[in-house]
Amino acid sequence: MSDETNLATTDDPALLPGTPAERAAESAHGMSAIKSSELPLLPGELRPHPSPFQYVMVAVILCVITALEVGMYYIEKDLPRGLYIGVLLAMAITKFVIVVSWFMHLRVDRPVFRRLFVVGSVGAVLLYTIILLTLHVYE
């Protein structure tokens, strides 16, 4: 049985990324001196995580989509109902996929995690859509 949940007592020097000079530069100037590709992969990962800059860019995209969603709310009466709901759902799904892929790292993890989550999320949507249709919620 692996000792995966025990907390270490000190930083293992062999697991620290970069050179001592890079780490000093990073400590002084932010998380830019050590590239993500220099970091050791966490268990279950196939590729390195995005860089902090990429994370910030992803957050900017999420903010823009959220602003568009809120903007849509104020022009709801000027749009056909089907178009309004369709565009809002498309934006929500886009945000959902972005967070799961980039922040939850499913795009760099082993496929087993992606399959597990797809079963749960898509399964839930299918299950409850069938239930709501059966109960005539959309009529």
Partner: protein, 211 residues
């Protein structure tokens, strides 16, 4: 550029429980904790799906004279709290990036910022619930009130559990008990935190924005 893999420590042994390619020493090749977290999150999709469906089922079926969603929702306010929760996901991944780099000072800053964003979100939810109650919408006042408060309240409960988890990580770091080789513990906490964020993404659109 060389592909990064879990390096072999100076004493020549492999990191505990993992081979030199970052694969866990388990039947599945992935750690039990991470696998368990994804199974849990997958089941949580079904859990929240049930409450969102219940809300959709009961919406518009309250007795005449009951408050409607359009009468009580404060979209600008909820948009602001949604934005805060979204930003907490950014600070969470920055905390993970910091611990992976052995930068404990920045890890503590980002993890406490994430917890504070979460506390702000919960504060906003308490304010919103209080306002709704003053306007006459309560848990027992209508099926809309029941389904709304149960759904958003359960989400708030999940956020609160996440805040406690983040504060625990921050406390461990302050005691120098969280190190670079514990990055996976931070990642698993992050998975939970991002999940409550994506649930709110769905709730915000389906419950608040779609009339």
């Amino acid at each position: 550029m060389a592909q990064a893999t879990l390096p072999v420590p100076a004493d020549g042994t492999e990191a505990p429980g993992h081979d030199a390619h970052g694969h866990a020493d388990t039947n599945t090749g992935v750690t039990h904790t991470k696998l368990a977290m994804w199974v849990f999150l997958s089941s949580e999709c079904i859990f929240f799906g049930a409450f969102i469906s219940t809300y959709l089922l009961y919406r518009g079926r309250s007795a005449k004279g009951s408050l409607t969603p359009a009468e009580v929702y404060n979209i600008p306010f909820t948009s602001a709290t949604s934005f805060i929760l979204l930003m907490s996901s950014l600070t969470m991944v920055l905390a993970l990036a910091a611990i992976q780099r052995g930068d404990h000072r920045r890890f503590r800053v980002w993890i406490i910022a994430t917890a504070l964003f979460g506390v702000t979100f919960i504060g906003g939810q308490i304010y919103e619930f209080t306002e709704f109650y003053r306007e006459g919408l309560a848990l027992k006042s209508s099926v809309f009130g029941s389904s709304f408060f149960v759904l958003t309240g359960l989400h708030g409960l999940h956020v609160s559990v996440g805040i406690m988890w983040l504060l625990t990580l921050w406390g461990l770091s302050m005691q120098n008990r969280l190190h670079v080789q514990n990055a996976e513990s931070v990642e698993i906490a992050g998975l939970y935190w991002h999940f409550v964020d994506i649930v709110w993404i769905v709730i915000f659109t389906v419950i608040y924005l779609i009339p």
